[in-house]
C-alpha cells in the first residue's frame, strides 16, 4: 500500500482577482523508498503541495477538492489538534535554511530538543540527551557546536540542523522544500548525499521539491514536472530525463547553458505567466507552448500513457507520441 496517496487535489488562493488555482486536480502516489521529486518554476504550486501536506496553508488558501490518504486517514479532514500530532511526528519538513528558518534567539540544540519533547513529553533526560547526540552525529555537526546560536553557523550547518530537526521524531514522510537552493554547489552536493543516505537508512517517504531538475533527478526515483498548478509529466527519472515528452519538460531540460555551444543553445522563450484563474482542467501551458494549436485552448488535456509509469498531460496526442528524438 502506498504511504501517501493524493487524489484529485485542488487548492485555490482567494485573491482580489478571484480564486487562483495554485494546485489543479493533482493525483499521485508515494511509496516508501521511492523518493518523489517535484520540479517546476516559481509559482507552479510545488510549495503549496508541501504546505498542504503539513497543514500549514495560509489563511486565504482553500482546499477545493480531493483527498490526501496517509496512514488510513484523510489528512484534509483533520482538525488543528489532530494536525499538531501529525506535524513533526508523522510528516516533517526540511526548509530552506538561508531564509531564517531557525529562531535567531534560541540555541541550536534547544530548537531540536523542542521538536522531540513536543511529541514525546515524558522522555527521560538521559534518553533525550542520547537522542540529541545521535541526531547531531547523524548530520555531522560536532557536539561542541550544539550550544551555538544559529548566526554562528554556516549555511550548510544551518541546513544540517534543519534536517536534524525534521528527523527528530522519526517521521514516516519527509518533505524537503528547496533544501539546497541557497547553498553553494559543494555544500549542496554534501547535503544531497546526506538526505539520500538518511532516506535510505530510515526508509522514510521523501518528497523533494526544487526548481532544479538536475538536483531532483539526483535524489529521486520518480519525478513530477509541474506547470501552472498541474502535473504535466510524470515518470521515473530516466524516463523524464532521457525521454521528455511534454513541451514544458523539454523546455526545462533545454534551459541549461553550456560553455561548448553557448551560441547555439536556445533558452526557451516563456514570457507569459500561466493564468491560474482559468477553468479547472484547461491547459495552462498553452500560452507558452510552441506546438499549441487552436484546439488546445478549447479542449481539456488528457493523460497520454507512454509507458506504464511514464505519462504526460496534453491535448494533442500526436505531439506527445511522436516527439521522441
Amino acid at each position: 500500500m502506498a504511504l501517501l496517496s493524493i487524489k484529485n487535489l485542488s487548492i485555490g488562493y482567494q485573491t482580489k482577482a478571484g480564486m487562483l488555482k495554485a494546485v489543479d486536480n493533482i493525483s499521485f502516489e508515494l511509496e516508501r523508498g521511492r523518493p518523489l521529486g517535484f520540479v517546476g518554476e516559481s509559482g507552479c504550486g510545488k510549495t503549496t503541495i508541501g504546505m498542504t501536506l503539513m497543514g500549514l496553508l495560509p489563511g486565504n488558501a482553500h482546499i477545493l477538492g480531493g483527498s490526501i490518504g496517509f496512514q488510513n486517514q484523510d489528512l484534509i479532514q483533520l482538525n488543528e489538534d489532530q494536525w499538531r500530532r501529525v506535524r513533526g511526528k508523522e510528516i516533517a519538513m526540511i526548509f530552506q535554511a538561508a531564509m531564517n528558518a531557525l529562531n535567531p534567539v534560541m540555541r541550536v540544540d534547544e530548537q531540536v530538543i523542542e521538536a522531540i519533547v513536543t511529541h514525546t513529553p515524558d522522555i527521560s533526560p538521559a534518553d533525550l540527551d542520547k537522542r540529541i547526540n545521535e541526531l547531531f552525529d547523524l548530520v555531522e555537526i560536532p557536539r561542541v557546536r550544539m550550544k551555538d546560536f544559529p548566526h554562528e553557523y554556516s549555511g550548510g550547518m544551518k541546513q544540517r540542523v534543519i534536517i536534524a530537526m525534521a528527523l527528530a521524531c522519526n517521521p514516516k514522510l519527509i518533505i524537503a522544500d528547496e533544501p539546497t537552493t541557497a547553498l553553494d554547489v559543494i555544500v549542496q552536493d554534501q547535503i544531497l548525499k546526506e538526505i539520500k543516505a538518511i532516506q535510505k537508512a530510515m526508509n522514510t517517504g521523501l518528497i523533494f521539491i526544487s526548481h532544479d531538475i538536475a538536483v531532483v533527478a539526483s535524489v529521486c526515483k520518480d519525478i513530477c514536472v509541474m506547470y501552472g498548478g498541474q502535473i504535466v509529466e510524470t515518470g521515473t527519472r530516466e524516463e523524464v530525463f532521457r525521454n521528455p515528452r511534454h513541451p514544458y519538460t523539454k523546455a526545462l531540460l533545454g534551459s541549461y547553458l553550456s560553455l561548448d555551444n553557448e551560441l547555439t543553445v536556445v533558452i526557451p522563450d516563456m514570457r507569459e505567466t500561466p493564468d491560474l484563474t482559468l477553468e479547472s482542467g484547461c491547459c495552462r501551458f498553452a500560452v507558452n507552448c510552441k506546438t499549441c494549436s487552436s484546439a488546445c485552448k478549447a479542449e481539456v488535456p488528457q493523460w497520454i500513457d507512454i509507458s506504464g509509469s511514464h505519462k504526460a498531460l496534453c491535448c494533442d496526442e500526436t505531439i506527445i507520441r511522436n516527439s521522441h528524438e
Binding site: L56, K89, N100, A101, N103, E114
Partner: protein, 332 residues
C-alpha cells in the same frame, strides 16, 4: 586591537561632546533673562550685604574667569553650591535622584511589561475587536497631554474621591515619630501611585504599539513556520518563538527611554510635588540657580549618553551572557 582603538575613539568623542555641552550650558544660563541675586537676596539689604552675597556666589568676577573656575571645579568633582539652598549641588542631586529613579524606572518597567503582554495579544489577534480596542487605546495613551492627564487623575482620585494624597512622598506624621519601615514603605507607595499611573499610561501606549508591529513582522518570519512544522502548540509559538524575538525593539526602547528619565518625568514630578530631579530642574531654571541648573542638565547629558557608557564598559563582557539578543553584541 581594533576594539581598543574603537573604544578609545569613543572616549575622545565623549570628552569633546561633554566639553561642548558644559560650555553651552554655562553661557546659555548667563544669557537667559533674570538675575540670580534678586531671587535670593532681600531687596531691603544694604549695598554692602548685597555685595557680600554677590562675592559669595562668585558673580563679581569677569565671566571668563567664572568659566575657568567652573571647568576647573567640574574636573575636581565640585559642582558648586546652590544659590538658593546654600548647599552643595552634589548633595542636592544625590538626595533627589533616588526618588526620580524610583518613580521612573518602576513606571517604565511596568509599562514595558504590560506593553509587551498587550501588544503580543493584539498582534496575535490581528484585526479582531480586541486588537482594535487595544490599538486605539494605545494611540490615545500615546497622544495624551501629560499635565492634563496628571491633573485629571489628581482631581478625580485625589481631590474628589480623596483616595490618594495630593502630593509629596510621605505623610507628615511619618516624617517624625518612629513608624516601622514597612508602614513608611506603604505610605510612599500610596503617594507614588498617582504619578506612577501617569507615567505608566504615557509609556504604555508606545510600548504596546511597538510590540504589536514588531510582533506582526516576526509572525511573518520563516522560523515561525518552522516552529509550526515541529507541531508546537500555538501558545508556545506565540510566547517562546514570536514574543521573545518581537520584544527586542521594546528592550531597546526601554534602554533609550532611560536617557529621558530625568527630564521625562519633570512635569509629572512638578504636578505631584514629587521631590525628584525633574522638579528641581524646573525650579533651578526658573530661579536662575546657575550651579544647580548646570549640574542638572549635565546629568541629563550624562544619562543620555548612557548607552555609550554601557557600550564601552560592559559590552565585551555581555557578548556571550545576554540571553535575549545574541547577535547585537558583536563589536563592529
Amino acid at each position: 586591537m581594533r576594539n581598543q582603538t574603537y573604544i578609545l575613539g569613543k572616549l575622545v568623542e565623549i570628552t569633546i561632546i561633554f566639553f561642548v555641552i558644559m560650555t553651552a550650558l554655562f553661557f546659555l544660563f548667563r544669557l537667559s533673562p533674570g538675575d540670580p541675586i534678586s531671587k535670593v537676596a532681600d531687596p531691603m539689604l544694604t549695598p554692602e550685604d548685597m555685595r557680600y552675597i554677590i562675592e559669595q556666589m562668585g558673580l563679581d568676577k569677569p565671566i571668563w574667569e567664572q568659566y575657568v573656575i567652573y571647568l576647573k571645579n567640574f574636573f575636581t568633582g565640585n559642582f558648586g553650591v546652590s544659590f538658593h539652598y546654600g548647599e552643595p549641588v552634589f548633595k542636592i542631586i544625590r538626595e533627589r535622584l533616588g526618588w526620580t529613579v524610583l518613580l521612573f524606572t518602576s513606571s517604565t518597567i511596568l509599562a514595558a511589561f504590560a506593553g509587551v503582554f498587550l501588544g503580543k495579544i493584539a498582534a496575535w489577534n490581528k484585526g479582531s475587536r480586541l486588537d482594535n480596542v487595544l490599538s486605539i487605546s494605545a494611540l490615545v495613551c500615546y497622544t495624551l497631554f501629560i499635565p492634563w492627564f496628571a491633573l485629571l487623575l489628581l482631581w478625580v482620585f485625589g481631590f474628589k474621591l480623596g483616595l490618594f494624597p495630593l502630593g509629596g512622598i510621605l505623610s507628615p506624621e511619618l516624617w517624625v515619630g518612629n513608624a516601622s519601615w514597612f508602614v513608611r514603605m506603604l505610605d510612599i507607595l500610596h503617594h507614588m501611585l498617582l504619578p506612577l499611573m501617569t507615567l505608566f499610561v504615557i509609556h504604555l501606549g508606545s510600548y504596546l504599539l511597538l510590540m504589536r508591529s514588531s510582533m506582526l513582522s516576526v509572525l511573518r518570519e520563516d522560523y515561525i513556520i518552522t516552529a509550526r512544522a515541529k507541531g508546537l502548540s500555538e501558545r508556545v509559538i506565540r510566547n517562546k518563538h514570536a514574543a521573545k524575538n518581537a520584544a527586542l525593539p521594546v528592550v531597546t526602547s526601554v534602554g533609550l527611554s532611560l536617557a529621558f528619565s530625568i527630564n521625562g518625568g519633570a512635569l509629572t514630578e512638578q504636578i505631584f510635588t514629587w521631590p525628584g530631579i525633574g522638579r528641581e530642574l524646573i525650579f533651578a531654571v526658573s530661579n536662575n540657580d546657575y550651579p544647580l541648573a548646570q549640574a542638572c542638565f549635565l546629568l541629563i547629558a550624562l544619562v543620555v549618553c548612557w548607552p555609550i557608557w554601557l557600550w564601552i564598559f560592559s559590552m565585551p563582557i555581555w557578548i556571550r551572557g545576554l540571553p535575549i539578543e545574541p547577535q547585537g553584541m558583536v563589536l563592529e
